[in-house]
């Protein structure tokens, strides 16, 4: 049977997000580990039948490469604070240059476009745009950390069975009332 993928503009998807930083860290670490296992074991770059997966692979490998590049830059910047570095390896500041701003702006434009499209279904969605700055400035950094943390965890772990605890669901009205009562 031949499979095909089409765009369905009326499809609605939803996701339950973790409500604490700890929960978010666990979720992202799990996803990073899962992705690394998947791509290490089941990547079929040599098969014509999987050619349509190529953009997904490229996107993923670029993200991983980017995460390690950012980590290298941070490491070089830190080293430069204590050791005299050769000029080629000296990182003067962690503030992103124009390329960083271009990537961040692309991200914010993507959010604007997607919110514009989604506003068909969700009125007043644009109000959430104020919080989107977290994505390029904080969430990407979190992903860098989880990508880095996932690799040694994968290499070192003996247990091949994947296990996890579902993200926290701490913000229940009953819990909030309880904490307020205390």
């Amino acid at each position: 049977m031949r499979e095909d993928v089409r765009f369905e503009s009326n499809a609605l998807c939803w996701i339950l997000m973790p409500e604490t930083l700890r929960g978010l860290w666990r979720q992202r670490l799990r996803w990073a580990m899962g992705a690394q296992v998947l791509f290490a074991q089941y990547t079929h770059l040599d098969q014509w039948r999987h050619r349509r997966m190529l953009p997904v692979y490229i996107e993923y490998f670029t993200s991983v490469l980017w995460a390690f590049a950012i980590a290298t830059v941070v490491l070089l910047w830190l080293l430069g604070k204590f050791v005299a570095m050769p000029e080629a390896l000296y990182v003067s500041t962690l503030l992103p240059g124009w390329y960083g701003v271009v990537i961040g702006t692309t991200c914010l434009i993507q959010f604007a476009v997607s919110m514009m499209l989604d506003s068909r279904y969700e009125r007043g969605l644009g109000r959430c745009y104020y919080w989107m700055i977290w994505y390029p400035l904080a969430f990407w950094m979190l992903n860098v950390c989880t990508t880095l943390a996932a690799l040694p965890q994968l290499l070192l772990r003996r247990d091949l069975r994947a296990r996890w605890i579902s993200p926290d669901r701490g913000l229940h009205p009953s819990n909030a009332r309880g904490s307020q009562a205390k």
Partner: protein, 85 residues
């Protein structure tokens, strides 16, 4: 579609969580604006520069009007002088 599809209950957060989250967001936007500062400066230079040129140099030479910004005048007098040469 209805709005209740999205679970958005900031009222269930403590005031501390809301305060930290809110002030960090303001800081992030300010940092983001800071990254744009070179371009803003460039645009300011271009726009403001042209305005100054128009008001202080061209207008002054051709119109002969007295400039209202005496502190900037000498610098642009030099430009005007160079232009006249």
């Amino acid at each position: 579609m209805t709005r209740h599809l999205i679970i958005d209950r900031p009222d269930l957060q403590s005031w501390r969580q809301r305060a930290v989250f809110g002030s960090l967001t303001v800081m992030f936007w300010m940092l983001w604006l800071l990254l744009w500062l070179p371009l803003i400066t460039l645009l300011g230079w271009l726009f403001f520069g042209f305005q100054v040129n128009l008001q202080m140099v061209d207008f002054r030479i051709h119109g002969g009007t007295i400039c209202s910004w005496p502190c900037i005048t000498p610098a642009f007098d030099m430009h005007a002088g160079a232009g006249a040469l």
